[in-house]
């Protein structure tokens, strides 16, 4: 909780609103994932290695949130360094799904998803590398938008997989996502990978006003990992869209099966380098067992990082090692381009692509904790958008027999967030009434 900062900001926003200022996020209370820097506040990244380490500057997205009138009420729990799909890998404690506390909220932005799903705040910021916002949005029954790579500045977001990372908001509706997105998006001179592509002009999200052309990716629907309840929900969605006058056509993504391995090579390679700075030398945790430079490194990192982070650092180090680089990393980059091309080809004749967001609904705490591969597969539908850098949104559709939410995912071409959210708005309009 950022009591002092939130009160100060709330007073300032109230003053500005009273003066008649038009603040796009005036009155929004938001939470921010704890891998995004807020000046003078702790920035733990859910890791013991950074416990209580205060940020020396604010992320560009945080500055823009506050400039737009939002009040940041607190920082939220996450899988350590955003590595995980359940928020069980937090270095402190797991996050719980507000709809069923025995189940996970998804991850890695679990805390930010819970904050919105439990009604604690209007919107929140998470971060995506391979689905860390859309997946928990689906599991918690809220909306989550992964913008185009480069739309939102990464300055102040602690890097995991730099070529994939993107700050990504949660909210209860596509309209609110659009408001937050527009307030945060746009080029930043502090992030060389940010884009100056113009923002959508409309101040508020409006219905598209014409039938949508929707590509249904058959490889997602015929996927063996897909839970039957989710498959049924996807078929219902397609029928409802057709009934509402939209055009649905089948498209193909033959290389989908390579998405997860490619993702885990690229993301862990970059992570192994990005996390090298946490070495116990300058800040953060230093092992009391350290006696010389080598043991400062070995013991501090060995004790400071959790098991999943250590696993990924080792994987990333391995795939970049000489002798393995060509077979793993270089090949992965090639397949990444292939998947990107397939996605863009699939998108060329349609407005958006439709898939379920996740293969299944919220799972129980501990259920996949000892099976990293099963955990990794929960990102199978979300990862392609990160690899291609295209925007994607998860919108709640229905619930399974246990009452657990099922989300549908939409993807669009680069920088087409407005069209994407308009399609999301349509899903919200036609989805079955809440039971």
């Amino acid at each position: 909780m950022l009591d002092e900062r939130a009160h100060r900001q709330a007073r300032m926003v109230a003053d500005r609103l009273l003066r008649g200022e038009d603040l796009p996020l005036g009155g929004y209370v938001v939470a921010v994932k704890d891998n995004i820097a807020v000046e003078n506040e702790p920035l733990t990244c859910g890791s013991r290695i950074l416990d209580k380490h205060p940020a020396t500057f604010s992320a560009t997205v945080v500055a823009r949130l506050e400039a737009a009138g939002a009040v940041i009420m607190g920082k939220t729990n996450l899988d350590e360094f955003a590595m995980g799909s359940s928020t069980e890998n937090s270095g402190f404690f797991p996050a719980l799904n507000p709809l069923d506390p025995e189940r996970v909220p998804g991850g890695s932005s679990g805390g930010s998803a819970v904050a919105v799903a439990a009604g604690i705040c209007h919107a929140s910021l998470g971060s995506e590398t391979g689905g860390s916002v859309r997946q928990p949005a689906a599991l918690c029954g809220i909306c989550g938008l992964k913008p185009t790579y480069g739309r939102l500045s990464r300055y102040g977001l602690v890097a995991f997989g730099s070529s994939l990372d993107q700050v990504s908001p949660f909210a209860n509706s596509c309209s609110e996502l659009y408001d937050v997105f527009r307030a945060l998006a746009g080029g930043d001179s502090r992030d060389a990978t940010s884009s100056n592509e113009p923002l959508p002009a409309a101040r508020e999200l409006k219905a598209l006003g014409r039938p949508l052309r929707i590509g249904v990716v058959s490889e997602f629907l015929d996927n063996e990992a897909l839970d039957p309840s989710v498959a049924n929900a996807a078929r219902d969605t397609i029928n409802a869209l057709k009934q509402a006058g939209h055009e649905c056509k089948e498209v193909h993504l033959p290389s989908l099966g390579y998405a997860i391995p490619v993702y885990y090579i690229v993301a862990t390679a970059e992570a192994s380098s990005n996390l090298a700075r946490f070495d116990g030398v300058r800040y953060g945790y230093r092992s009391p067992a350290a006696t010389d430079l080598q043991t400062v490194y070995d013991a501090s990192r060995g004790e400071g990082f959790g098991r999943e982070v250590r696993r990924r650092i080792m994987m990333g180090t391995y795939v970049l090692s000489s002798g393995y680089y060509d077979a793993y990393y270089k090949t992965a980059l090639r397949v990444r381009r292939l998947i990107t091309n397939e996605l863009l080809t699939a998108l060329s004749g349609v407005d958006v692509l439709l898939t379920p967001t996740t293969p299944g609904t919220a799972f129980k705490l501990g259920e996949k904790a000892d099976d990293p591969i099963a955990m990794y597969l929960s990102d199978i539908f979300t990862v392609p958008a990160n690899l291609a850098g295209i925007p994607s949104v998860s919108v709640p559709w229905s619930k399974d027999d246990l009452g657990l939410p099922i989300g549908m995912q939409l993807m669009s071409g680069h920088f087409q967030e407005e069209l994407l959210l308009q399609a999301g708005l349509e899903l919200e309009r036609i989805r079955p009434a809440k039971s």
């Binding site: 995004i36 990244c45 300055y155 060389a192 970059e270 090298a276 970049l320 000489s322 990393y329």
Partner: protein, 475 residues
């Protein structure tokens, strides 16, 4: 040496003279209090990101053009990963397989013989911090140097003697300074050098195992370290041994090489493309614009000074090695001074005053315009050479023009032949004995009489006119 020859290549790291660092807005300056020129970006604070400084690209382009290298209009940054306390991100931003420039060469003269060394590549990277190892065994780190832009220039293994390597380093320093991209200060570490050394039997074609020597921080050290390493390798081969690839450090105090580490294969830096920086794409027009503003380089100036002006070797090297001095000389030429005359003044009088005051030419208070006034006054015989010299010295602290000085000191040269004739006649009358000596064949007495004339005219008589009249009266 016993039928062996040296095969050596140099890697030169030059700190670029940008106002700010390579990827952040911190000042790029040597000598500030430790850890005061730092920010989240160069300290690698979590969440901070690098943004390339445009001036780094301009300076790299200037150097690449000066070396005649091929500039890659598309190049890429990579991360070189390793752990060390003075490397706060755990990786160095460098360029690996798509460097900024490829090829090029440097021509210089070793003991009067021309030598051309080929350049393999030149790439942009960032400097690390500076570790200072204390006597108690602890190490402290100054991060001011973190993120200072470097250009690494890798030569082909073209050196066949230690003195070639030393002279190359010196010529590269001269070129870096000439195009204004590095101050070349080796003591402050703005220019550093590593050497790769192997030896082989003369006539052999393949290359034998090489060793790397790090941080050779003076011309002398480069030569001595290469000589020592060459001898070490030859001794090992002569005793039937084999060279193992290793990294050595030259110890200046003990004047010997100290092994740092034995390499097993090559170091694994796990290079991969830097995802925080887009590909570096530069427009051809950007390169052309910089090219059009490039100064004429030493090599071309030397050729001109030698072939067109007929200056001798020493003058050619002095006048083309340092850009400001060379420009000063050329400014004199553009003001109408003949090359040989201008060279004489710059090499002699100007250089003497610079040495006396320990000035660089930039600090010299007399502009080329004012000096040209002095030279022209001498040429036009308004004043003589020695008065000109005195005026130049006066001008160091006196802003008057040569015309004003002539008026004020009454130093106008006497050209009036009647006046000079009168003075000489009276001198000849005053020294009958000396006149007799001359008439009996002691022609050296001309010098004596000339001295008397100059003394009587306080040095203002035009020496040529005076001598003509003296000879006429003596005849």
């Amino acid at each position: 040496m016993n039928g062996y020859e040296l095969i050596a290549g140099l890697e030169i790291h030059a700190q670029l003279m940008t106002r700010t660092k390579a990827f952040c807005r911190c000042e790029n300056r040597y000598g500030a209090a430790p850890n005061t020129l730092v920010c989240p970006v160069c300290l690698g604070t979590p969440g901070a990101l690098p943004v390339l400084n445009r001036e780094v690209v301009s300076q790299a382009t200037r150097l690449a053009l000066a070396l005649g290298a091929n500039i890659n209009l598309r190049s890429r940054f990579d991360r070189k990963n390793y752990f060390y306390p003075d490397l706060p991100k755990g990786y160095q931003i460098s360029q690996f397989d798509h460097p900024f420039a490829l090829g090029g060469h440097l021509r210089f003269s070793v003991n009067g013989v021309d030598k051309v060394v080929n350049i393999t590549r030149a790439h942009i990277e960032e400097d690390a911090g500076k570790s200072v190892h204390l006597a108690d065994g602890s190490t402290i780190v100054d991060m001011n140097r973190c993120g200072v832009p470097l250009i690494e220039i890798v030569s082909e293994p073209d050196f066949r003697s230690a003195s070639e390597a030393g002279t190359y380093l010196s010529a590269m320093r001269e070129l870096l300074r000439f195009v204004g991209v590095c101050d070349g200060n080796m003591e402050e570490g703005s220019l550093r050098c590593d050497a790769n050394v192997s030896v082989r039997k003369i006539g052999e074609t393949g290359l034998r195992e090489r060793c790397e020597m790090k941080n050779l921080n003076s011309f002398r050290n480069v030569e001595r370290a290469i000589e020592a390493e060459m001898k070490r390798q030859i001794d090992i081969y002569e005793q039937g041994g084999e060279i193992r690839r290793q990294t050595l450090q030259w110890n200046d105090q003990e004047e010997r090489l100290i092994p740092m580490r034995v390499k097993e294969g090559s170091d694994d830096y796990r290079y991969f493309p830097e995802p925080d920086l887009p590909e570096l794409v530069i427009a051809d027009s950007f390169v052309r614009e910089i090219e059009s503003a490039m100064p004429e380089l030493p090599e071309s100036r030397r050729a001109r000074y030698r072939d067109d002006f007929g200056l001798h070797q020493e003058a050619v090297y002095l006048l083309a090695s340092e850009r400001a001095l060379s420009d000063y000389f050329e400014r004199l030429l553009s003001l109408g001074i003949a090359p040989v005359t201008a060279s004489g003044w710059v090499q002699g009088d100007v250089q003497r005053l610079l040495n006396e005051h320990e000035w660089s030419i930039e600090q010299f208070p007399v502009s080329a315009e004012r000096l040209s006034g002095v030279i022209l006054a001498v040429e036009e015989k308004q004043i003589n050479r020695s008065t000109g010299k005195e005026f130049l010295r006066t001008m160091l602290s006196d802003s008057r023009s040569v015309g004003q000085l002539i008026q004020a000191t009454g130093a106008q040269q006497i050209q009036d032949t009647d006046k000079i004739r009168k003075i000489i006649s009276s001198i000849l009358a005053k020294y009958p004995d000396e006149l007799e000596k001359y008439r009996s064949g002691k022609t050296k007495m001309v010098g004596f009489f000339m001295g008397q004339v100059m003394q009587a005219t306080k040095g203002q008589a035009d020496p040529q006119v005076a001598k003509d009249i003296l000879m006429e009266l003596l005849a």
